[in-house]
């Protein structure tokens, strides 16, 4: 009997287009858009192309020679030089700029000024590079004149660590800040399980649909009906999350879920929470199905936005000003659990998130079960 109910419910969910769209296709579509929009910060440097730049020598001296050699040695990554230099006079450089053969001109005079015909990322890189050079030269000159005993030490520091700020991980794999968006997206997809939960509650309860009334008058126990429908919803939704995970990881090549087992455990709990939220909303008030759908969609979106789906820093802002929201927002808890797996080498923070999610799941399961399981109704 259970298998009969379970398999038919699975079939019913698989054929419901709106559910397939919201739980499977829409998150895949959104993740694809995210990939195009954000990609990965580690990809950016490797994928950058060498910038053609003109070096217009106005006054030839040791400093300009030094600058030219630094310009030649700059690179985005190994074997990917930052600039391809076309040295010449100012007039020929301007001609090259007008023809579009170079993206900018560095005028090698006393001030190292720059000349562009348009403004985009390449021009910003050229400008930043020149400004950085000027600042470094000033630092070295000032140290040499003010504190010459520290001159060699300063040079060593500048050679070893040209970046004064460097991001480090406290453990685990390298953390890509863009991954936060994908984690928030997967959390949102988990909460979209509420659509299945909503449909379950409507098709079981006699006061919400004729189908619920018909199923109510059969000799099959309500407990069995509820369990079969709920497990079918969990399974369908968890499968759709797995598909999303595989798509993001292997098709979009984003390094999400480096440890698949605990990652998928969180996904499973997320599915349970999402479906249970839908069943709770569906069972608690006798309002139209469309209104309840709007409520669950609104809650899922708001929860996801607060977890950093649109703007990563919002989570930290909320954590600072209203921390209770982060503690109870299921999307934040889910995305935090994902993030902690990739950042921390131990499982302390992950375990803490896991326990909170498990407790939340259990509470929602109990509430939704008892709200659906009513025997009789005051009105239908």
């Amino acid at each position: 009997m259970f298998l009969h109910l379970f398999l038919y419910r699975l079939k019913s969910f698989f054929r419901t287009r709106s559910i397939i769209f919201w739980t499977m296709l829409f998150p895949i579509l959104l993740s694809t858009l995210f990939k195009f929009a954000f990609g990965s910060s580690s990809d950016i440097l490797e994928n950058y192309k060498t910038i053609p730049v003109g070096a217009a020598v106005v006054s030839e001296n040791a400093e300009t020679e030094s600058f030219l050699s630094i310009l030649k040695s700059a690179e985005f990554s190994k074997d990917n030089p930052m600039f391809s230099i076309k040295a010449g006079d100012l007039e020929s450089s301007k001609k090259l700029l007008a023809d579009g053969q170079i993206d900018g001109i560095i005028i090698l005079d006393s001030s190292f000024s720059v000349l562009f015909s348009k403004s985009n990322i390449n021009q910003s890189i050229i400008r930043q590079f020149v400004n950085r050079y000027i600042q470094t030269v000033k630092i070295v000159t000032d140290i040499a004149s003010v504190s010459p005993e520290n001159f060699s030490k300063t040079l060593s520091l500048l050679e070893e660590n040209p970046a004064y700020l460097q991001s480090v991980t406290v453990g685990g794999e390298k953390s890509d800040p863009m991954l936060q968006y994908f984690y928030a997206l997967i959390a949102m997809a988990c909460l979209y399980g509420s659509f299945l939960g909503l449909q379950n509650s409507h098709s079981i309860q006699a006061n919400l649909s004729a189908l619920g009334a018909r199923r109510h008058v059969t000799p099959t126990s309500r407990k069995l009906l509820i369990i079969a429908d709920t497990l079918a919803a969990y399974l369908i939704h968890f499968l759709s999350i797995i598909v999303l995970y595989l798509y993001i990881r292997f098709v979009l090549q984003m390094p999400v879920g480096p440890q698949p087992a605990p990652f998928l455990l969180i996904c499973l709990l997320g599915s349970v929470i999402g479906v249970s939220i839908g069943q709770c909303v569906g069972s608690l008030a006798r309002k139209s199905e469309n209104l309840k759908m709007a409520l669950t969609l609104g809650f899922s979106m708001l929860s996801s936005i607060f977890s950093g789906l649109m703007y990563a820093d919002i989570k930290y802002y909320i954590g600072k000003n209203a921390p209770i929201i982060n503690k109870i927002n299921p999307a934040t808890l889910i995305s935090d659990a994902f993030y902690s797996l990739s950042v921390y080498s131990d499982y302390d923070r992950f375990s803490s998130s896991l326990i909170t999610l498990a407790l939340m799941s259990a509470a929602l399961i109990i509430i939704s079960y008892f709200s659906i399981k009513r025997g009789k109704y005051a009105s239908i």
């Binding site: 009997m1 009969h4 109910l5 038919y8 079939k11 019913s12 969910f13 054929r15 419901t16 098709s203 006699a206 649909s209 004729a210 189908l211 009334a213 018909r214 199923r215 109510h216 008058v217 059969t218 000799p219 099959t220 126990s221 309500r222 025997g375 009789k376 109704y377 005051a378 009105s379 239908i380």
Partner: protein
């Protein structure tokens, strides 16, 4: 007694939907519940099926009090809801199989039952169709098939022919009679008196949550004064003759409408002859003259003062 309802009261706030209603339904009957919209028919059915709570009274089905977990009784009951209750995402065959599976566990037995149910309602050509592809009549047939596939001994049909084409309606009514011949007790609710008159062996007329009359078709009609209604189409009937025609033997009520006169007659013979003689005597020009036997609507009208069709 298959169903016994005693002193049932159901309130929705201040509205009394069922007002101390009593009902007894015997094995093998096709019992009709007739009443206008809002009279309490569906509420009564839902209370008997233990879907609704009620404020007072007792309900027994198959000799046992009816509760949500009286599974033994539920196993013998089939329900055809007023609203179509099927899964939109499952085909005709799958829907019937699903609902039959809630009663019958054995797969082989269920397959036979499903095929028989499909044949019974005439949906052989539509087995792989989805509900949204079916017409209203076919959808109603599917609805019925889902309710009776497991061959229940007690079947509730709540207005099963609403918005149904005449062909499907006839098929449904014939099917119900067939089920009864095979041994099922049927409770049939409707506000279409013609259907109830056609198939029901015993009828209860309900209005405002109360049983206003109960009995066979003939018993109900014998309760009222009217035994015959005579309709006369006439161009011009003088007002001076109204009193005279009303004083003819057995005529107790006269309705004068433009172009038509309706005369209601109580028990007696040769009423039509008396009327025709009267018209001839006074040289009244008339068209068609026809007579009607009393209907359940007449019963309802005489008891409650209003028409069944509201």
């Amino acid at each position: 007694m298959v169903i016994r309802v005693e002193n049932l009261v159901k309130r929705y706030g201040d509205l009394v939907a069922l007002d101390h209603i009593n009902l007894s339904i015997r094995q093998g009957e096709i019992f009709g519940l007739l009443g206008p919209n809002g009279s309490g028919k569906t509420t009564l059915i839902n209370c008997i099926l233990s879907l609704l709570t009620y404020n007072k009274g007792e309900i027994e089905v198959f000799g046992k009090p009816m509760n949500p977990d009286t599974y033994d009784s539920k196993r013998k009951i089939g329900v055809v809801m007023q609203n179509v209750a099927v899964f939109e995402e499952l085909t005709v065959w799958e829907n019937i199989d699903y609902f039959c599976g809630l009663y019958v566990g054995d797969k082989k037995e269920r397959k036979t039952l499903v095929e028989e149910a499909i044949s019974f309602v005439g949906l052989e050509d539509f087995q792989k169709f989805y509900p949204k592809k079916l017409s209203g009549g076919l959808l109603r047939r599917l609805n019925i098939a889902c309710g009776i596939a497991h061959k229940p001994s007690l079947i509730f049909l709540d207005e099963p022919t609403v918005a149904v084409d005449p062909q499907s309606r006839n098929k449904i009514l014939e099917g119900i009679q067939e089920l009864n011949r095979k041994g099922a007790t049927i409770i049939y609710t409707s506000h279409y008196m013609e259907e109830v008159e056609q198939i029901c062996t015993r009828i209860a007329i309900i209005d405002k949550g109360r049983t206003v009359a109960e009995g066979t078709n003939d018993e109900l009609k014998s309760m009222i004064k009217t035994t015959e209604t005579i309709h006369i189409e006439t161009v011009d009937f003088p007002e001076s003759l109204i009193t005279s025609i009303q004083s003819l033997p057995n005529i107790y009520k006269t309705d004068i409408l433009p172009g038509k006169i309706t005369l209601r007659c109580s028990r007696g013979k040769h009423n039509l002859i008396h009327v025709l003689d009267f018209l001839k005597k006074h040289e009244i020009v008339f068209g068609r003259v026809y007579t009607e036997l009393p209907t359940l609507n007449d019963v309802f009208l005489e008891i409650t003062g209003k028409e069944l069709r509201d």
